[in-house]
């Protein structure tokens, strides 16, 4: 048995073989992207999102003959609901699995023993997953864009593009939250559980709570708007609606208040809320992961 063939002896190099900071991130991003698109969750979510998006585009425009092209706003509203339900779930669970999964399988230790820093590993995974998510969204929006083209014509390409843009922002914001959850969890199942809880909270509980409190405590409009804008999902929704209608009057007194007081700054304020939800959890995740004393 001489399975081990002799390797040519090479001079011991003293030069560092560590990849550059960005190079290392890129390596991990690529691997994460590759793993993600090959995984079942990616296929499942992409399929679900695409089917639902196409379904919404199709159904909301059916039975209206040539009047369909007026319906983009309504279609967008339907898509909005769908996006708010599916995209955070997708991004949160994807993020939650990222670090905790590797930790649980024991692969994280092996990766960290390579010539890379913890920050590189984390950011690489983040960007890889973000790219995979955006790909998934591109597929869904691309196909439902085709349905819109067929049923409704090209009215609202700008709005559609903005809808996609804000959806992308929402996705990476929720991914940040998911990664933060993942960094703090020892086990993948725990991380997924917390992510689902976060999803439930952001999607339903906070809105219902805010509704209840505005009924019970007779909150003033500025209070309701302020509290709602803290929720990334509401920020996302308001940003898309401002973009579609040039004002938030559709959202009743609270929306009118926001449009009047903030005016042209309104989309920026809402975008800032989403950006903060992207940057802050990610930064926190980096700090916690880098400072963590165990694997």
């Amino acid at each position: 048995m001489s399975a081990i063939t002799s390797s040519p002896t090479r001079p011991i190099r003293t030069a560092s073989a560590a990849p550059s900071f960005l190079g290392g991130i890129a390596r991990f991003a690529r691997r994460e992207f590759r793993d993600a698109i090959a995984s079942k969750w990616f296929l499942l979510y992409t399929l679900a999102f695409t089917t639902l998006a196409v379904g919404v585009s199709f159904l909301s425009l059916s039975g209206v003959g040539s009047h369909g092209f007026a319906g983009f706003g309504r279609t967008a509203a339907g898509l909005l609901n769908l996006i708010m339900l599916v995209v955070p779930l997708m991004a949160l669970t994807a993020g939650a699995g990222s670090i905790a999964g590797e930790r649980e399988r024991g692969t994280l230790l092996y990766l960290l023993a390579q010539p890379v820093s913890r920050m590189q590993v984390l950011l690489g995974k983040y960007f890889g997953l973000a790219a995979a998510l955006l790909c998934s969204l591109c597929v869904g929006f691309g196909i439902s864009g085709g349905v819109l083209a067929w049923r409704a014509g090209g009215v609202g390409i700008g709005s559609y593009a903005m809808l996609i843009g804000f959806t992308a922002l929402l996705a990476i914001a929720m991914l940040s939250v998911g990664v933060l959850i993942s960094v703090c969890s020892r086990r993948s199942s725990v991380a997924t559980g917390i992510a689902l809880f976060a999803w439930l909270t952001l999607v339903f509980v906070s809105d219902l709570g805010l509704m209840a409190s505005s009924l019970l405590f007779k909150l003033r409009v500025q209070e309701i708007f302020g509290l709602a804008a803290v929720n990334p999902l509401q920020s996302f929704k308001m940003a898309v609606i401002v973009n579609l209608n040039a004002s938030l009057d559709v959202l009743g007194p609270v929306g009118s208040y926001a449009s009047q007081t903030l005016g042209d700054g309104l989309p920026w304020v809402l975008g800032a809320s989403l950006a903060a939800w992207t940057a802050v959890p990610l930064a926190l995740a980096v700090v916690i992961f880098v400072r963590r004393s165990s694997v």
């Binding site: 909301s60 706003g73 591109c138 439902s144 009743g252 609270v254």
Partner: protein, 467 residues
């Protein structure tokens, strides 16, 4: 005598070309030149104004045809009325009219008419506080004009076209943009067809004007599409009200109007499709709504609780955020949502049609808990289009005791949408662009996957394990 007449006529027709042909459009002329041309014209004669910009205010006092289609521009330089018609039987055609005063006192207009039998056609009116203002000018025709208002705050704008005590007029093929209203006061027996009103306040606005037909008008992106007030016996047929989403944002608003017939219209993506405020107001009157497409509005039908005796049949209520709602508390049950056993199509109808007669076997009664909550606390409208809203509706569906009373009952809902097509040409442009956009998105995804996702591992080598 006759020969002199003939000579003058020839002179009028030819002289401008010969004598003033080189004046050029850019050169400013005095309005007195046009006045002198009119002076020389006889009644009923055509006055062809040569190309040029004529500055000042023109008053027409005899029945002539003023034709500016050679490139005549009338500019009042921001003072008063541009052209005022005092004589009956005047025609103004092909002129560019601009620069009326902008102070609302005196109501300066592009064209003001105070005499009957006037024809105003194919003019372009720009930068005028009021576009065309007919006062006690019955039997007039306003046709094919393009009117755009002054660039002012919506509150300070004037009307694009206004009729005041002017019966039996025809208003057709006009386009009004960025003004206040196309408004009709105390004017009866009008024919209003194929007009387009965009980016204004009320597309078509009726005050105390009866017995009129509105056909195939296109009202787009105004505050309100058609607003009828205190006007009776009006028929709306084949009009389109799209994207009217201003402060009130009605596709059609009716206030205290009797005997209204609304058929074959498309009310699309307005804030409210149809708004009924105490219409009909008389006890023995009926409002008819038949075969209208009411789609993509925030609220399909909104009515004050006292609204009664409207009949809705064969309408398509498609994908409205709320199909029907009451303005305030109450229900719409004093109206009927079926005629001779034929109701309306409601896209949120969840019933079935076992006998296959096209009529659903269970009644349609929308019960929106969220809608009921909105009626109580308007601030909650912030949460529309959110999963939380869906959750509330879902809960109400699961728990019958939470269900609010339905706003209306359609006893025989249609199971498929009736086909309602308009004569108005659809500008269905850009489908290809959207298709390309979708394709671009897909290729981005494909490119991403190709660039990053394809495994480029080590190839399988032949050597294999040696043992």
């Amino acid at each position: 005598m006759r020969s002199t007449h003939l000579l003058i006529l020839i002179w009028i027709l030819i002289a401008p070309h010969v004598v003033f042909g080189g004046a050029g459009a850019a050169q400013a002329e005095s309005i007195s030149f046009v006045e002198s041309l009119i002076e020389r014209a006889t009644d009923g004669q055509e006055v062809r104004v040569p190309a040029g910009v004529y500055e000042g205010n023109l008053v027409i006092r005899k029945p002539i045809v003023l034709d500016g289609s050679d490139g005549a521009v009338f500019d009042a330089l921001g003072k008063g009325i541009v052209i005022e018609v005092l004589a009956a039987g005047v025609t103004i055609r092909g002129c560019v009219i601009r620069g009326s005063g902008s102070d609302v006192t005196g109501e300066p207009a592009g064209i003001r008419v105070v005499a009957p039998n006037t024809i105003i056609e194919s003019n372009t009116i720009q930068d005028a506080l009021f576009g065309i203002d007919l006062r006690e000018s019955p039997d007039s025709i306003i046709r094919g004009n393009t009117i755009s208002g002054k660039d002012l705050d919506p509150g300070r704008r004037g009307d694009g076209i206004r009729l005041w005590w002017s019966h039996y007029c025809v208003i057709e093929n006009n386009t009004v943009r960025g003004s206040r209203d196309m408004v009709f006061w105390y004017s009866e027996g009008l024919i209003i067809r194929r007009n387009t009103v965009i980016d204004s306040r009320y597309g078509l606005h009726f005050m105390y004007s009866h017995d009129t037909v509105l056909e195939e008008n296109d009202l787009l992106s105004n505050s309100v599409g058609v607003y009828l007030m205190y006007s009776n016996s009006i028929t709306l047929r084949g009009n389109r009200m799209r994207n009217n989403r201003g402060a009130s944002g009605y596709g059609i608003g009716l206030k205290d109007c009797d005997d209204i017939t609304i058929t074959g219209n498309a009310l699309l993506a307005n804030r409210v499709g149809v708004y009924l405020d105490n219409s009909p107001s008389s006890i023995d009157s009926t409002g008819i709504f038949e075969s209208n497409m009411i789609a993509f509005n925030e609220i399909g039908l909104l009515a004050t609780p006292n609204t009664h005796d409207n009949v809705f049949t064969r309408n398509a209520f498609v994908e409205n955020e709320e199909p029907a709602a009451t303005h305030g508390r109450g229900r719409l049950v004093s109206n009927s949502f079926a005629l001779d056993g034929v109701g309306n199509y409601w896209s949120d109808y969840a019933g079935f049609d076992l006998d296959g007669d096209g009529i659903g076997d269970v009644v349609y009664e929308p019960q929106s808990l969220f809608g009921a909550m909105l009626a109580r606390e308007p601030n909650l409208r912030l949460f529309v289009h959110s999963p939380a809203q869906q959750a509330i509706e879902f809960t109400a569906r699961a728990l019958p005791e939470l269900r609010p009373q339905s706003t209306l009952i359609d006893p025989s809902p249609l199971v498929s949408a009736p086909k309602i097509e308009l004569a108005i040409a659809d500008a269905k442009l850009g489908g290809a662009r959207m298709g390309i956009f979708g394709a671009i998105l897909l290729s981005i995804a494909a490119a991403c996957i190709a660039a990053m996702g394809i495994e480029r591992g080590l190839p399988q080598t032949r050597t294999g394990t040696r043992s």
